[in-house]
């Protein structure tokens, strides 16, 4: 087991290194840099001296190899540098953004799993009935509808009927102003939850159908246990195991959705930060945030892999 974990950790470190390297070069391949992006439309008015001065101030005039070596060495020492845009340290920027992303991510997962599990369960229990068809149709819709479309339609509905305040400027945390925060998060959490868990719902349904046909479930029923006990204690717990394994993928999907949703609702989280940094060519923030997202995703998958290895010895032995 120890060798398995070490192997997985080394693999994770390598993946993070690759992602970090990719993000370093990706933002430099894109047109322009912070020196010109910060001039906006007026970049055409800048003199060559002006732009050269800006690039030198930011260290963008150094050879790409030297920039990469510096970045790698600084990152290993956990020195992520300063934001070109705000002059704050990147750690400060991440610290400011992360709570928003965690809040939204948790809410999306709560909504998603609290919808996916009952729906998957009901759909399996009422297999091939009208209710099953309806819920499966809903799941297909959730898979097919892009998250930005769902969120945009919901926003228009709220604006049209002036249903509640979406506090895109106040940006309150849940612990500061729960009322305004929850209405601000409402559309993104449902849009994200709806989209992110359709896979879970469909997987749970198929697992439940398989488990409900197992001998031990028949035995449980034969013993005279109530159907609710059979479903929740015997069938659901076993059906959820494979669902756990796809959780890593689900979380990665949710993070992807969050980049879109945070921008659509001006939530200053990690997703918003990465896009802002990308547009402004704020290299230190972009590279670091991508790295953080990669670490988080890899860690989640690592934990799931290890848990799965713990649960199923065949995995770690192979």
């Amino acid at each position: 087991m120890q060798a398995y974990i070490i192997r997985r950790i080394l693999g994770a470190v390598f993946v993070v290194f690759l992602v970090g390297t990719f993000s370093f070069f990706a933002i430099r391949v894109l047109p322009g840099d912070f020196a010109t992006a910060s001039l906006g439309l007026d970049a055409g008015s800048a003199s060559a001296d002006n732009i050269a001065q800006r690039r030198a101030d930011l260290g963008l005039d150094k050879p790409i190899g030297e920039q990469y070596a510096n970045w790698l060495w600084d990152t290993v020492r956990l020195d992520l540098g300063d934001s070109f845009l705000t002059q704050n340290t990147v750690w400060y920027e991440i610290g400011r953004s992360l709570p928003y992303s965690i809040e939204l991510g948790v809410l999306i997962m709560i909504v998603g799993f609290s919808v996916a599990i009952p729906v998957g369960l009901i759909s399996a229990i009422f297999q091939d009935k009208a209710l099953d068809y309806s819920l499966r149709g809903l799941a297909i819709l959730a898979l097919a509808a892009p998250v930005f479309w769902t969120a945009a339609i919901a926003s228009l509905v709220v604006l049209q009927w002036d249903l509640f305040l979406i506090d895109v400027i106040g940006q309150p945390h849940l612990w500061e102003d729960p009322g305004n925060a929850i209405t601000w998060y409402l559309i993104p959490m449902f849009a994200g939850g709806f989209a992110g868990t359709a896979t879970t719902m469909r997987l749970l349904r198929s697992q439940m159908l398989e488990v409900l046909r197992q001998d031990y479930v028949r035995t449980a029923r034969a013993k005279g246990l109530r159907e609710s006990v059979v479903i929740t204690r015997h069938a659901l717990r076993n059906a959820l195991l494979p669902v756990l394994t796809v959780m890593g993928v689900t979380i990665a999907t949710i993070i992807g959705s969050q980049v879109i949703l945070e921008n659509m609702f001006n939530i200053p989280g990690i997703g918003n930060k990465v896009l802002t940094a990308l547009f402004a060519r704020d290299n230190p923030v972009f590279q670091s945030v991508v790295l953080i997202i990669a670490v988080f995703t890899v860690l989640t998958n690592l934990v799931v892999d290890i848990m799965y290895g713990v649960i199923d010895p065949r995995i770690r032995l192979s």
């Binding site: 047109p31 001065q53 400027i169």
Partner: protein
Amino acid sequence: MSERSYWQRMGRKRMSRRGILRASARAGVGAAGLALVGCGDDDDDGQQAAAQVQQQQQAMQQQAEQQAMQQQQQQAMQQQDQQQAAQQAAQQEAQEQTADEQAEQQAAQQQAAVASTKKYGGWIVEQSANVYETYDAQRTVASPVLQVLARVQSKILRFANPDTGDLVGDLAETWELPDSTTVVLNLRDGVSWHSEGPGASHPAAAPGRALTTQDIVWNIDRQRNKLLESGEEAGNFGRSAYWGGVSTIDQADNSVTLNLVEPDATFVQGFANEFNLINQPELVGGTEDQYTEVDASKVIGTGPNILTRWDPGEGIAALRNPDFYGNPDKPYLDGWVWVQTFQDPNAYRIAFEQKQVDSMTDPDPNTILAIHDDLIDETYLTFQGVANTVAIFTPSNKAPWNDLRLTRAIDLAINRRQLIQQLHNGLGKVSGPVSWMQEAWAISQEDLETIPGYRVDKDADIEEARALWNAAGGPELGQIDWVTSELWASRAAWSATPGIIAEMFNQAFDTDQFNGITKPYLEIIPSWINKDFDPFFSWIPNIEIPDARADMIGAFTTGAGSNYWDVSDPYIDETLIAAKQELDYDTAFQMIRDVQDYVMERGQFGRSICYNYIYPWIGYNYNKIEKKTDEEGWNFLAVSLQAMEHYLDLDDPSASDRQAPEPTPL
């Protein structure tokens, strides 16, 4: 009024008859008008109601007197039917002057009436640009920096009307032009640097100190010498060429005398250029090594607002300066709040429709028009030109493009009106060598319709272009890469531009020689400055003042700073230099028009100006910005003007349910 102006004395009888252009003539050619304006106070419309009523009464009385005088003049004219032609002309001019004065008085009355309805208090919430390269206005070319600083800092003069160039005093209460190369600035009494706010708390700052003549001299010297306090030369003083027009500076009591290198009737207008803000020497000089580290503690000014917060990417705020010089009634607003940029139009739309911000713009005009349709009773639209002119540059200084037949063929083949449709949803107007935004100097849209290259009948242009192209051996040039700047093409709505440009030329010349490619400014600008560039399509530098003569001289005279095409033509040199010193607007206008015609006949020498586009802005009815007309914003940056005149009418029904956040208190 005393005649203190050399230009006034010289140009007294030659003032423009064209009302709309008159102010421009004052500011530009007829510096006569400068002293005339400079003697007055710019802030009449901010006086108390009683004063306004008195003003109106005086104005009405004057108007009545002038009407009576006009009648007398008319009677006199009837009695003098047999006067000489010269006398008749003189009378006609006098009548026109009277008509102009009446129109001025009526405008003043209207302004006074509007001023009396303006209300005090409240704060505006707008989106910020997010990205700021520096807090030092003198070392930037980026207008977002000015959107903040021009509300906090002052200039020597400012525009009462940014589009006509009508000037009023700012730090200089009056100004005199005793001869053609001397400008005397008489500083306003009682001006002091902000004594409150983060900037005032900075250890390097001198809060509350009175403005001195030395402050002005330091700011001018710094820019014309391009030197930092450390003695190091800095290449990013954007207005160094303008200030290089000053040879020596003298100080006396409360006045500063600038001795110019040569006569320049356009010079005074540059004082009001929004970029020419006056820094406090102690603070800016003491923090020059951190000039890219933007925050409110490094900004102090003498302007109508005090900067209380400047956190790029988070928020910016400014509050009313309680000790704003000379005009306790301004500004109207208690403060400004700028929120971080909305990356997504959905967030911006939510913020606007729920009245969390008071205005909105969007690169896609359809978004703004749709929102206006939805909120037709509560909002209004304003259309505003973008001062970064769009152009196509052909390197006519080197082979093969130094064959003017090819350059002219390219200029004729550019389908300017089609580009406006394809790239800007039709929101834009074609520009001749002088942009339409410099209204007083530009060729009218009607005239352009029949000028080759701009003809509405594009087939005629194409036919001529194709003949020139073939005659000059264009088909033998092989494949031609036409560059679009990456910054332009990085905008989603314009990403197809390289292909559009290539296709436009391929169709015009019935060929497949043209390829659309992109390059970053980092490559384009140095190659352009070194005059070794590939043909490209992009913006050209921001137009900063309404007088077009300086831009024309910079682009077309021999050896000028922006003459990247090595144009060297004695006729152009002679005419433009004469225009720069010409006192009479009509004469100077004709000179500029002649040069425009001359360069257009030569394919604009490769500097093919195309158009300036327009973007829509939407605001709630309670949000009263200062506008040029009901539907038009200013062509030029008007931040200083808005800082003084913008107000809120929170009694307007559209202000109900406004959710705007409050600014951080001092």
